[in-house]
């Protein structure tokens, strides 16, 4: 079985409007976060009371806040926090989810069964409550956010990926490979990983969306990004304080969160269609079908 060609699925992805939009927004947010490390339209800490509460204009594209800081600069820099939580939460969810999935799929029943029940129970725990609990024990931080999301959603990843691993390891072609003398490592590398990757990647793409929403909520409550850190959730909290003075300042950080999360979910949907070998194979009908 040939490995799927990389450029091919990337092409499939970008051909879909959802995939193109999703990738573009994700790339822009990541680029903005990166650029903001070196350059922002105005220095983040530059204040000017004379220029406070400006609406969108030529000097400050998105206006200024209560102490005259540039809203656009803070918005760009807030992307850093978003990228940070999306990256680490996804990594933790991948580690937790794939480890649990592999363990429960490959170990004997009496080991796997209790773990499966535990995963089923933990899946019901709301991520935000896990985060609040960790914040009570260890103090609030972005690490609390990514740990809570990573472990919480990691359970979902485990539940979805496990049957996929079972399906592959129980298939005829793996049986044939094993009979042909391929060892466990070879089976894993040649059959399990390529087949399970699609499902796992799609699941993981949703982790980032959950993480961004959770960061916004927890930073708003004061248990996420520390004070002074640019974060869209923190900006929303600030904007609420002055909602009577400058209601428009509520718009930008929320819009940034919503567009980013929408882009990631659309990207996830498009990835599922582009990566699923079964969906792809149906379209290339000229190729002989393999079972």
């Amino acid at each position: 079985m040939s490995a799927p060609g990389r450029p091919q699925w990337i092409g499939e992805l970008l051909r879909r409007p959802a995939g193109a939009f999703g990738s573009a927004v994700v790339a822009i947010v990541a680029a903005a976060a990166l650029v903001s490390l070196f350059w922002t339209p105005y220095p983040l800490l530059q204040q000017s009371v004379a220029e406070r509460w400006q609406g969108p204009g030529a000097r400050h594209w998105l206006g200024t806040d209560q102490i005259g800081r540039d809203t656009l600069s803070w918005l760009l820099a807030g992307g850093r926090t978003t990228v940070f939580v999306a990256f680490w939460a996804t990594l933790i969810a991948a580690a937790v989810g794939l480890a649990l999935a592999t363990l429960t799929a490959l170990s004997p029943r009496r080991v796997a069964e209790p773990v499966i029940v535990l995963v089923d129970i933990l899946i019901a725990f709301p991520v935000l409550l896990i985060a609040m609990l960790l914040a009570a024990g260890f103090g609030g931080s972005l690490w609390v956010v990514v740990t809570a999301v990573g472990v919480g959603i990691g359970m979902n990843v485990a539940r979805v990926v496990r049957p996929e691993i079972r399906r592959v390891t129980g298939s005829d072609y793996v049986l044939a490979a094993r009979a042909g003398g391929v060892g466990p490592a070879g089976i894993l590398a040649r059959h399990v990983i390529p087949n399970v990757a699609a499902v796992a990647i799609v699941q993981l793409s949703y982790v980032a969306a959950v993480a961004i929403l959770a960061e916004a909520g927890l930073s708003y409550l004061g248990y996420g990004a520390p004070a002074g850190t640019p974060s869209w959730g923190r900006s929303l909290a600030d904007s609420q304080q002055y909602i009577a003075v400058q209601p428009a300042s509520v718009v930008w950080p929320g819009l940034a969160i919503a567009v980013t999360v929408l882009a990631i979910t659309l990207l996830g949907d498009a990835l599922r269609e582009a990566l699923d070998p079964r969906l792809r194979r149906e379209r290339r009908s000229s190729e002989p079908r393999r079972r």
């Binding site: 019901a124 725990f125 609040m132 960790l134 260890f138 929320g254 969160i257």
Partner: protein, 320 residues
């Protein structure tokens, strides 16, 4: 059925046990010297000792855990470290806001999901159906927090453009002034209800599309009913069932929503109390509150499962 009930209740009990163990581990075991942590670095040794005794930290860890569990069995969740109020009475007081809030939000969510979901399913090939699908996908990405702020900006008294509904706080008299109390919950409930509603709407829509392709709906249409009549008469029970099973998944989101949205609208509910107690390191209260909220999620999830089993004839047949 009896076997199913026993199994499901055992799973619920196990879930609560795992929750209590996890809560105990994170709050009492992992952080190290909890008494010192709560007291802060400036505390005298006497103060630390006082907290230690108050939390029962002088006992062994298993002893502490079993003591807490034992108290739980007769609804004794301990006392607040700061105010000495019992946690159970604090929860009972605050539940008077959180329970009506989530109930209202749930009703709004289901109303949105059913009406717009069925409508957009029936009109899935028309512009209006496509538009509803698109808007619901976009709204599903909106943080509840932002939705709440936007609603305050538009409708909130004092700050909003229309200024028709209270967007901050709850009457001191509570439900003693039912009109004012209800009004205070409208915007927060709409916030949570909208977000949850659009999430549910998408499942209803695909259940409707599914039902439209089924033979019984086509047969009814062949007998002269319109597609809408056929769906409403024969397909709706199936749509209802799928809504029921999905809504179980959304309960966690409702409870989570309450934590953020109560804080946003400054409502004295369990969620905002939890946020405050986390900041104060009032661990006895946090312990009780997190268990209460997690328990709520687990219990409602069990009830939905049982209801699903009772209603769905296919599952009944399987059990027999």
């Amino acid at each position: 059925m009896a076997r199913f009930l026993v199994r499901r209740l055992a799973l619920l009990a196990l879930g609560l046990l795992v929750a209590s163990l996890a809560i105990f581990l994170v709050l009492r075991v992992l952080p190290g010297d909890v008494a010192q942590l709560i007291a802060g670095t400036n505390a005298t040794p006497e103060q630390v000792a006082g907290i230690r005794a108050g939390l029962g930290l002088d006992r062994s860890l298993p002893g502490q855990y079993l003591g807490w569990l034992g108290g739980l069995l007769h609804l004794d969740l301990g006392r607040s470290l700061l105010t000495n109020q019992t946690v159970a009475s604090a929860l009972a007081e605050r539940a008077g806001v959180t329970v009506p809030l989530t109930a209202m939000a749930f009703v709004i969510a289901v109303a949105i999901a059913l009406t717009l979901g069925v409508y957009s399913g029936l009109r899935h090939d028309r512009p209006v159906g496509v538009a509803i699908g698109f808007v619901s996908q976009a709204l599903a990405a909106v943080p509840a927090l932002w939705m709440g702020l936007l609603l305050i900006v538009v409708f909130g008294e004092g700050v909003g453009l229309l200024g028709v509904l209270p967007g901050n706080g709850f009457p001191d008299a509570g439900w003693g002034r039912p009109g004012a109390a209800f009004a205070a919950l409208v915007l927060p409930a709409v916030t949570i209800g909208l977000i949850e509603g659009v999430a549910l709407l998408r499942f209803v829509r695909s259940a409707v599309l599914d039902a439209l392709g089924q033979d019984y709906v086509r047969a009814a249409a062949a007998r002269g009913l319109t597609r809408t009549q056929a769906l409403l008469r024969h397909g709706l029970p199936n749509v209802g069932l799928s809504l029921l099973s999905v809504s179980a998944l959304q309960i966690a989101a409702l409870v989570t929503g309450a934590v953020v949205i109560e804080s946003l609208f400054n409502l004295p509910g369990v969620g905002r109390m939890l946020v405050g107690d986390v900041g104060n390191r009032d661990l006895t209260k946090v312990q009780g509150e997190v268990l209460f909220l997690t328990g709520l999620v687990l219990v409602i999830g069990t009830l939905v499962d049982v209801a699903h089993r009772v209603i769905d004839p296919r599952q009944r047949a399987e059990a027999a």
